[in-house]
Symmetry: C2
Subunit: 250 residues, 2 copies
DNA sequence: CATTTTATTTAACTTATATTAAGTTATTCT
DNA sequence: AGAATAACTTAATATAAGTTAAATAAAATG
């Protein structure tokens, strides 16, 4: 029932777009409220991702702890929001979640979510695709908020490198990147001039060589260490739990 | 077939998680490649959102034009990525999309996506929820990248205000916000000292009054104008096309 | 109630990045 | 090929925001 109190579902219901079958499914979910105290941690980054929560009362937030000791908050959750969907389709949590004040949540397992998806692997796959996009966006947000220009650029380049490698567009640590510094500056929110300066800095350190659209990262792992790159959000494999479940479907 | 070339779907297929029924569905999609030239605009912010594209060749990006004349790029798309999922569940595009170099795309209508979802309104609702989260994140990213501290904070407060109004937690333009300045600084990526300074600035301009957890926005619309707030991404209503289609389902 | 802790404000100083402008190098066009 | 345009680099200056630290105010604790 709690899922019906959720922002989008409530309006779906009001708009008359929920079939009786859908409603039956929602009613059939066995959900029990859990009272939860202020500052209680719902989960930590890196923990197994197996459930999400409908927030009924209280405020919560998701965040990442950063190497420099600060944290970046990704989102504040208010009553009616769903916490933990961000990790659906990943094996481990990409961010931690914590209550702010005390409140009430309804935990829901990913298994139960599968059922709502009608056990359709296509629906799950599309959902996972959307969530992966969100993960990329979150990482960019973290770098925008908290890191210096050279770290932002290094992170950006390493992400592009990984994504290109995945589609076999990297050879000998080199790739074609058809972007102007203007475009890069629009993505990273810094001035084009500073993008140029920052490329020079990375070149002097021997980390990045660039000639127009040709980019070479002589030691990609060194770049990754510089930005403490956690590549789990790039990974395209769905967790074993997902594929086992989907294979077992009728 | 193009959807099978997509990053997540390909791995789903490799992991053996696609039923023969799913594969038949994918095969049954009538997709025709479209060659597309460099700098071609796929769609503009505000246009009707009715399809997405599987990017087969070339690079593209999505972005928002900002009032100050700059643009914020939200994402670069590489071959195998899906462009335009960000808007699924909204009536209009929240961001523009443009090719960088020339390439090939496979357009796919949201109607076709419905079919893949097995016409389940629950799956669509959950997907729409996830996408709305992403929209919030995108807006935050835009403000982080491009705006001054007082605009960021104003935008943040106005968003909270709207979200609270939706759940009837605003009375007389006032609400309870159980956040410390430390938490706000962690969300906006600025120092706690500067959050305090910025609150003082907004107070002097008569826009925001705050006493601990009590916040009053005497003139919310003035705040909205300051940040050129586009509230379409907050809206929880699904487009008419969605609900009509879902109501018509068996 | 007094004490400690936590949150906020204010001020002085520092720094990273923006801005402007001028110079250089590539690329495109005729 | 030569001219025009776009992309990039370098340097000087300006400014918003960071940092540190000390003062005040509120909340939590015993």
């Amino acid at each position: 029932m709690a899922l019906l109190d959720t922002v989008v579902m409530r309006s779906l219901s009001i708009q008359g777009a929920l079939s009786s079958e859908d409603k039956a499914l929602l009613m059939g979910l066995e959900l029990s409220p859990r009272h939860i105290s202020a500052s209680e941690v719902l989960w930590e980054e890196g923990a197994e991702a197996d459930l999400f929560c409908v927030l009924k009362e209280g405020w919560a937030y998701s965040y990442r702890n950063l190497k420099n000791g600060s944290k970046q908050i990704l989102k504040f959750y208010l009553p009616g929001d769903i916490i933990g969907m961000r990790d659906f389709g990943f094996t481990r949590r990409l961010s931690s979640a914590e209550m702010i004040n005390r409140g009430v949540i309804y935990p829901l397992s990913y298994q139960q979510l599968f059922e709502l998806f009608g056990r359709s692997s296509l629906a799950v796959g599309i959902m996972a695709t959307a969530i992966r996009q969100q993960a990329l966006l979150s990482e960019r947000l973290i770098y925008l908020g908290q890191y210096a220009a050279h770290e932002q650029l290094a992170h950006f380049l390493y992400e592009i490198y990984l994504r290109l490698k995945r589609i076999e567009a990297v050879e000998d640590n080199s790739f074609i990147m058809p972007l102007t510094q203007q475009l890069i500056s629009d993505a990273l929110g810094m001035s084009p001039v500073h993008v140029s300066r920052t490329f020079s800095m990375l070149r002097e350190e021997g980390l990045v060589f660039r000639d127009r659209h040709h980019v070479k990262l002589p030691d990609p792992e060194a770049l990754a260490r510089l930005v403490e790159f956690n590549d789990s959000y790039i990974d395209e494999l769905l967790p074993p739990m997902f594929t086992e479940f989907l294979r077992a479907s009728p």
